[in-house]
């Protein structure tokens, strides 16, 4: 009983293997035929593809010649990927292409769009070629579709990854833009804040400012947030805390350049306005600071 079962099993697996083998052989045979067809009709198909691209208004950021040049390379790597069934070269090319076209404002949907267009153009040509032999057409599509889908996938993922890499790089750059604490007069510091403030950056800013107050023996600090479009409640609270901590070190803080959105946030969290010294713009803030420090600016002569 046991023996029979095991032999039946052996037979089964052997059969399956044989089927898989013939099938993959059959498929690579079909793919070879497909690649030969695509090579043969390279010019015609490529032109049709480029035509479809401009018809659907994709890649408007690029010139016709550029599209044609890129299309040629994409077409060739596409056919090569179909032939060799390895996607590394295509992946590398997609990454390289993305690197070139992302700065020019090419969108994800355009890249996915052109690859899908190429897939459609090639599929159409297969329909036309094998229209008399429906069975063959089916088998050739069986071989073509998974490979084509994988190619489209590879290119799209490559593009998105490249984009994400650029975004990460930019975020890093923003975070690294250190915010200087500058002394403009004896005992007067300014802290111009530009860009997005996340809690991490806010903490770093506070540390820098409090240390700056001590080393420069500042009495007045002007924090200019003209370059900050909006801040969330956490960061706004942090700003208020920074103002109070500075007071504990004996320094008065003047906040300038509050945008309407930030003003709204501060009112919403219910800031005690008696503690917050605010002036409309940086110039006004510096003038106010000078008054607090007892400076008076006098024009000695008319500017030449």
């Amino acid at each position: 009983m046991a023996k029979r079962e095991s032999s039946a099993k052996d037979l089964g697996t052997g059969n399956n293997q044989a089927v898989a083998l013939t099938r993959s052989e059959d498929q690579s045979e079909l793919l070879r035929e497909l690649v030969a067809h695509l090579r043969q009709n390279r010019n015609q198909l490529r032109e049709e593809w480029v035509g479809r691209i401009s018809e659907t208004r994709l890649l408007t950021a690029m010139t016709k010649e550029e599209i044609f040049a890129e299309a040629t390379s994409v077409y060739d790597s596409y056919v090569e990927a179909l032939e060799t069934e390895t996607f590394e070269a295509l992946q590398a090319y997609a990454r390289n292409l993305s690197e070139r076209i992302i700065p020019r404002g090419v969108e994800t949907h355009e890249v996915v769009g052109i690859v899908l267009l190429l897939r459609d153009v090639l599929a159409r040509s297969l329909f036309a070629k094998y229209q008399t032999d429906f069975k063959k057409l089916n088998r050739i599509l069986d071989a073509y579709e998974p490979a084509a889908n994988r190619i489209a996938n590879t290119v799209a993922v490559g593009f998105v990854q490249e984009r994400e890499r650029v975004i990460r790089q930019q975020q890093e750059a923003i975070r690294e833009l250190s915010t200087p604490v500058l002394q403009v007069r004896e005992r007067l510091l300014i802290l111009p804040i530009i860009g997005v403030i996340d809690p991490q950056r806010a903490r770093q800013l506070t540390e820098q400012l409090l240390r700056g107050i001590r080393t420069n023996r500042a009495k007045v600090v002007v924090i200019d947030i003209t370059g900050v479009a909006a801040m969330d409640v956490t960061v706004a609270n942090h700003l208020v805390q920074t103002v109070e901590a500075s007071r504990l070190l004996g320094a008065t803080v003047i906040v300038t350049g509050l945008s309407p959105e930030i003003a709204q946030t501060l009112v919403t969290i219910g800031v005690d306005l008696g503690k917050m010294n605010t002036v409309g713009d940086l110039q006004g803030g510096i003038e106010q600071a000078e008054r607090l420090l007892g400076y008076k600016v006098v024009t000695l002569a008319e500017p030449r």
Partner: protein, 120 residues
């Protein structure tokens, strides 16, 4: 550990040498409030440079000292709060409202002298 109270002209100066227990703080409060009238001082400086932790009791006592001295007819300045301590205090909501603060002893003295002048 008791806090020495020094007299310097019109000003009393109390300098914390280390972290203080609650009893020491109470002792300091009593001493300062008594001596400010005894010496007819016009200002008090409490120097907390040596404190690397400021808990709610210390912060409340400082505030009480400042307000009691105000009622006894003199001004108080807290000086020498460390940057890290300042931010920790604010996060705990200990903002020493209504109490003057200055960077260090020198600044505190300058502040009081300025204030005396404006009154005279």
């Amino acid at each position: 550990m008791e806090v020495p109270i020094l007299k310097q002209g019109d000003v009393l100066i109390a300098t914390f040498q280390a972290a203080l227990s609650d009893a020491d703080l109470n002792h300091l409060r009593r001493g300062l409030v008594q001596e400010v009238v005894k010496y007819r001082s016009r200002g008090v400086i409490v120097d907390v440079t040596a404190m690397d932790v400021m808990d709610s009791f210390a912060s409340r006592t400082l505030r009480e000292i400042a307000h009691m001295i105000r009622l006894r007819g003199a001004d108080t300045v807290i000086v020498g709060i460390q940057p890290e301590v300042a931010f920790a205090m604010v996060q705990l909501g200990l903002t020493l409202e209504g109490v003057s603060t200055a960077l260090d002893l020198e600044e505190g003295l300058a502040y009081l002298i300025q204030k005396f002048k404006s009154v005279d």
